[in-house]
């Protein structure tokens, strides 16, 4: 546990986070300002947090904010660190972190596709990754209505026998 405590005090000293907590065993969560993310990631990478496990996003629609969540793992200490920062939902721009973690290129594409956050500096950002030919607002935003989209695109089965009369090919149905 000592390494945890010293890690937390190191982080507090180096990154001056807005808030830290320990959500679970050997996990540290820290909230930083958006412009502190790059510095924090570079600092942590140097401290042994070489793996970016995931970059994801939360839509806080009532606060009109997106929260970016970076989770890092250190294979030497066996500790997870979660870095969070909130950006404006109306102007969802952020800078890419691919210069620190090149693998973030795909996570950023994913967050861009599902939440519409633009990561300046990521060249692949506009290539479709999961959603091909998507034609609506990004689907994981809270104001997107999946039921309405599904109803408009994918017809439901109206009655159970529909299928029989269709592929039976017979006129005696």
């Amino acid at each position: 546990m000592n390494s945890m405590n010293s890690m937390i005090s190191d982080i507090k000293a180096a990154l001056s986070p807005l808030e830290t907590s320990e959500p679970a065993f050997r996990q540290i969560a820290a909230v930083v300002k958006p412009d502190g993310i790059h510095g924090a990631l570079a600092y942590l990478k140097n401290k042994g947090f070489t793996q970016l496990c995931i970059l994801t996003c939360i839509d806080w629609i009532e606060d009109s904010q997106f929260e970016l969540v970076y989770i890092l793992f250190s294979w030497t200490d066996g500790i997870h660190i979660q870095l969070r920062a909130r950006i404006d939902r109306e102007k969802p721009f952020f800078t890419t972190v691919t210069d620190i973690f090149p693998g973030a290129r795909y996570y950023e594409r994913e967050v861009h596709e599902f939440f519409g956050v633009e990561f300046c500096g990521n060249e692949d950002l506009y290539k479709p990754l999961f959603l091909e030919l998507w034609d609506d607002i990004p689907p994981l935003r809270k104001d997107f209505d999946p039921q309405a989209y599904s109803d408009s695109k994918f017809p439901m089965r109206e009655n159970a026998n529909e299928f029989l009369s269709m592929t039976g090919g017979g006129d005696d149905e």
């Binding site: 091909e132 030919l133 034609d135 017809p155 439901m156 269709m166 592929t167 090919g169």
Partner: protein, 183 residues
């Protein structure tokens, strides 16, 4: 399926159906949760090879296309590609409630609700997921249908190609795949 329909196959077609029913090669498209039910069905406990069924490497060599669960629009494009590569006669089996009516993903923005709008399904196996017993039952039924000439989905697809194409385009926008791996 329609059981009392007149059998108007030619003798050669009957012979062909007899032989294809005894050696059914399948291509399964492991989408959704259903792929996990295939290993027990294939291996010693249920052993589908005793029915004369076996896995095949490519759609061009396969007779049956198994769709083992929900289909996202992205997957459906690839499934349509695979189906159109297969040689006639070809059969489609839909596994699980997701292929029947969308299942628990009925309101998903990403998955289709009715597989038979896009591909001619010969047989549905209900369940979420169907157990290997149900799958074996379904396969026995499929073989029986092929023997009797009742699995005519591929013909329905030929005859109603416009209808299927229209549904595919309505839901998918475009069937042609243009991703970074096909550039």
């Amino acid at each position: 399926m329609v059981l009392d329909e007149k059998d108007n196959r030619s003798p050669w077609e009957k012979i062909g159906d007899y032989f294809s029913a005894n050696s059914v090669w399948m291509k399964w498209y492991c989408t959704g949760c259903g792929a996990i039910e295939m290993p027990p069905t294939m291996t010693s406990r249920f052993d589908m090879e005793r029915l004369g069924m076996g896995p095949m490497a490519t759609p061009r060599q396969a007779d049956v296309l198994l769709i083992t669960g929900y289909l996202s629009t992205k997957t459906l494009r690839r499934v349509i590609y695979s189906y159109e590569q297969m040689n006639s006669p070809r059969y489609v089996v839909g596994f699980g409630s997701c292929t029947v009516n969308g299942g628990i993903y009925y309101d998903s923005y990403a998955t289709i609700n009715r597989l038979d709008m896009y591909l001619p399904v010969d047989l549905y196996i209900a369940g979420c997921m169907p157990r290997p017993e149900a799958i074996m039952n379904g396969f026995a039924k499929l073989i029986d249908m092929i023997k009797k000439g009742e699995a005519r989905g591929w013909r329905h697809y030929q005859e109603n190609y416009e209808w299927y194409k229209k549904n595919q385009l309505d839901s998918l926008g475009e069937v042609i795949i243009k991703d970074e791996f096909h550039e």
